[in-house]
Symmetry: C2
Subunit: 402 residues, 2 copies
C-alpha cells in the first residue's frame, strides 16, 4: 500500500516509517522538522546523534534497497499543499504523528500552550478536511494517547475507547456505549481529546475510516530497522520536556545523576516498547474499519508500572541513587491503572515486556553516548501551575539558582 | 461589575451588552466585526438596518446616559492585545460570544470548516490562557449550544451538562457523573464540544470559574433595550446560513416565499426568546461558580418545538404556503427532545413562551423591512455532504439553475 507518514521524521514516525517500508509498503514522509527546531529552541539534543532526513533516507536505500520519499510541509498551516499532495500521491493510508507530543513542553508558557493547541487541532482538522475534499477513500491511523482517559480509575479496567454505561430513562434503565469520558492531564493530552472529537464527527458525517491508537509511554529507542546502520539511529530524548520516564532514568543512571522521582512516584502508567509500537501500527493498517463504522480505538500499550518501581529497578541494575523531588505536574500522588488491550493481542501481537535484556540494551546506548548529555537539561522545569516547583535534585538546586 | 463582552457587536452580543449596561454594569465590547464582514462575503444583509458600532454606542449614551466602550481586536489571533486589555481593564466577568455561530456557514466549503475550527478554538483557548496569565479572578460566561448534546435522546431528559451513569467495576456497579456524551451535528456544533473540553481542563488545572450556557435556537430580534431607539435596532438574519428557523419563517411569510421545511420537518429543537437570553446571561453572571468548582452548565432554553409545527403555526397566522424541500443537513428526519432547564427557573426566570402576541411583533418587523429582502439569499444551500441537495422550493429551483 502507499502510506503517507505525517511527522515521519520524529521519534515514533521514523521507526514506524522504516518498519512499514521494510514490510513492502511505499512510504512518503511528510514533515516540517518542527521537532528538530524545538531541540534548538530548548538548547537540547537527542542523546543519539541523528543525521539529516536526506542522509537517513539515503542510508535506508543503501542498506535495504527500499526508497522512502519526503515532502516538506507544515500540515497545520499549509492546507493547499497537503490537499495537492493527497491528490498527487493518492495514498491508501495516512499515519498521523504530526503533533506536538510533549506534555511538559505544552505547559511551559502561555505561548507553548497556544502553539500546542493551534498546531495539533489544525493539523488534525486539515488532514480530515483534505481527505474529504480529495474524495479519496483513505484510512487515517492516528497516534493518540492513554492520557485521554485520565488515571483516576481504581476499581475498573479502562476499555478500548468505548464504555458501556447504564442511564436512567423515562421508562427504566437504558444501556449505551459511549466514548470513554476524558480526563486529560495537560494541554498536550487535551489536544488528543479534541482530536478524538474531530474523529467522531468526521466518521459520522463523512463516513471516513479512522483508527485512533491510544498509546502508552514508549520505552526503548531502537528497532530491528533502526539498528541496521548507524545512520538510521532513532532519536533518544532525555531532557525534562521530551524525555519519557524509563528512558530518562537509564540516561540519568549512565551519567551519575540521581533518578528523579516526582513526588512519591506513585503514578502508575501504561508502557509499550518502541518495537511493539511499530508492530501495532502495521496491524492497525492491515485491519481497517469499514466506511460508516465508528472510530476504531485500540489501547496501544502492553503493561503498566508504577514510577517508583521503575526507579527501583533501574537503581538495582545500575547502582544509581533515587531521589524524590517536587512534582511539577498537577496530578494524583498515587493511582491504580488497569487497562484492556485485547484488540492487538487478538490480532497476534506478542508483547516485548520489561526485561533486563532490553533494559541492558538501552543502558548500553546511554553509556555509549553519555558524553553528549547536558546535565542542565535533565530536570523537569515546566510547571503545571505557578505555585508548583521544578523537579530538581537538592545537589543541583543551588548551582542553578532555581 | 466591569464586564467584557467578546463579540458584543453581534446578534446576541449586542442586546446582551445593552441589557447588562442597563442593569448598571460597566460594559466594554470587544469585537473584530467579523459578522459584518461575513455579510459582505455572502452578499447578504440584516433584514433590519443596523448602524455602525460607533453610532449604536452613541445612541445608547444619548438614550440612557450609560456608556459602552469598544475595543476592536481579533481575539483568535491577537493574543497579546487581549492580554493587555485584561491587564488594563481588570474585568470581573468576561462574556464570550466571539465565535462563528452558523452551522450552515461552517459547512459551506473546506475553507469555511477550517475557518470555523481555527477561529472558535483559538478564540476560546486564548481567552482561557489570557485569564490564567493575567492572574485575575475572572468569571468566564460562555455561549454554548444545545447542539452539543445531539438530538437522539428519546426516552430520557437531557440534564444540564452532567449525566449520572452506572458502570460495571471490578467490585460491582459504580455510579459516576460525567459530562453528557456529545453528538454534534455540524462543524460549528463540534467547535462548541471542543470548547467544553477546554473549559473542563482549565477549571480543573487552573481553578478558573467558568459558566457554559447551552443555548437553544433564538427567536425574536428585539429586547426592551434595543426597542428604545431606532439606532439601537438588533440584526435580524433571514438568509439560508444565518437565519434561524422561526425568524426565517416569519420573513418568508412577509415576502410571500414558501415556508421551506427541510425534509418532513420532524426535527424537534429547543428555543428561547432573545429577551430571555439577555435575562439568563445576567442571572449566570450574578450566580458564579466558586474557584475549584467544575464548569457550571445551564440549559439556556425554555421550550421545544417540532419544525413542521412551527411552519404550520406561521402559516395559520399569515396564510403563507408550506413547502417541504430537500434537507441539506445530515440529520435524523424525526427526533424527540426533552430537556431539563430547572437551573434558570430556580433562579427566577419567568420564560416568554411562543405566543401570537410576540410572533405578531416579529411579523410587524418583517413586514416593515420586507423591501430589504433578497429572495435569492433565503434557501439553505450549504450541504453537509456532497450527495445532499439544497433546500430550494420547486418554483425557485429552475430560475436559479440549482
Amino acid at each position: 500500500m502507499k502510506i503517507l507518514v505525517l511527522g515521519g521524521d520524529g521519534f515514533c514516525g521514523w521507526p514506524a516509517s522504516l518498519g512499514l517500508s521494510q514490510s513492502g509498503h511505499e512510504v512518503v514522509i511528510v514533515d516540517n522538522f518542527s521537532r528538530r527546531r524545538i531541540d534548538e529552541e530548548l538548547g537540547a539534543q537527542s542523546l543519539t546523534p541523528i543525521v539529516s532526513s536526506t542522509e537517513r533516507r539515503k542510508a535506508w536505500h543503501e542498506t535495504t534497497g527500499h526508497r522512502i520519499r519526503l515532502a516538506v510541509m507544515d500540515i497545520a498551516s499549509q492546507y493547499d499543499r497537503l490537499l495537492a499532495l493527497l491528490r498527487e500521491e493518492k495514498p491508501q493510508v495516512i499515519v498521523h504523528y504530526a503533533e506536538q507530543r510533549s506534555a511538559p513542553y505544552s505547559m511551559k508558557s502561555p505561548a507553548h500552550k497556544r502553539y500546542t493547541v493551534n498546531n495539533n487541532v489544525n493539523a488534525t482538522h486539515n488532514v480530515l478536511c483534505a481527505i474529504v475534499e480529495s474524495g479519496l477513500d483513505i484510512h487515517l491511523v492516528h497516534l493518540g494517547t492513554m492520557g485521554v482517559y485520565g488515571y483516576g480509575t481504581a476499581g475498573m479496567r479502562i476499555p478500548e475507547g468505548y464504555l458501556g454505561v447504564k442511564v436512567d430513562g423515562d421508562d427504566g434503565e437504558v444501556s449505551e456505549e459511549i466514548l470513554y469520558p476524558t480526563h486529560p492531564g495537560s494541554i498536550y493530552h487535551m489536544t488528543k481529546v479534541l482530536d478524538q472529537d474531530l474523529f467522531a464527527y468526521y466518521a459520522k458525517n463523512d463516513a471516513l475510516r479512522i483508527t485512533d491508537l491510544h498509546q502508552g509511554i514508549i520505552w526503548g529507542t531502537s528497532t530491528d530497522e533502526t539498528s541496521l546502520d548507524e545512520r538510521l539511529i532513532n532519536r533518544f530524548d532525555y531532557d525534562g520536556d521530551y524525555g519519557t520516564v524509563l528512558n530518562r532514568f537509564l540516561v540519568q543512571a549512565a551519567v551519575g545523576y540521581p533518578l528523579t522521582v516526582h513526588g512519591v512516584g506513585g503514578q502508575t502508567r501504561a508502557f509499550i516498547h518502541i518495537q511493539d509500537m511499530v508492530r501495532c501500527v502495521r496491524l492497525a493498517i492491515e485491519n481497517p474499519p469499514e466506511r460508516g463504522d465508528r472510530v476504531k480505538i485500540f489501547n496501544q500499550m502492553t503493561e503498566t508500572h508504577r514510577v517508583r518501581d521503575l526507579a527501583a529497578l533501574v537503581s538495582s541494575m545500575t547502582g544509581a541513587v533515587v531521589e524524590n523531588v517536587p512534582d511539577p505536574r498537577k496530578e494524583d500522588a498515587e493511582n491504580e491503572l488497569h487497562v484492556v488491550n485485547d484488540a492487538f493481542l487478538d490480532l497476534g501481537l506478542r508483547p516485548l515486556t520489561l526485561s533486563n535484556h532490553l533494559l541492558d540494551e538501552i543502558n548500553r546506548t546511554a553509556m555509549k553516548y553519555r558524553d553528549r548529555v547536558d546535565l542542565s537539561r535533565i530536570p523537569a522545569r515546566s510547571l503545571w501551575t505557578k505555585d508548583l516547583k521544578p523537579g530538581v535534585p537538592v545537589a543541583y538546586r543551588e548551582s542553578t539558582g532555581r
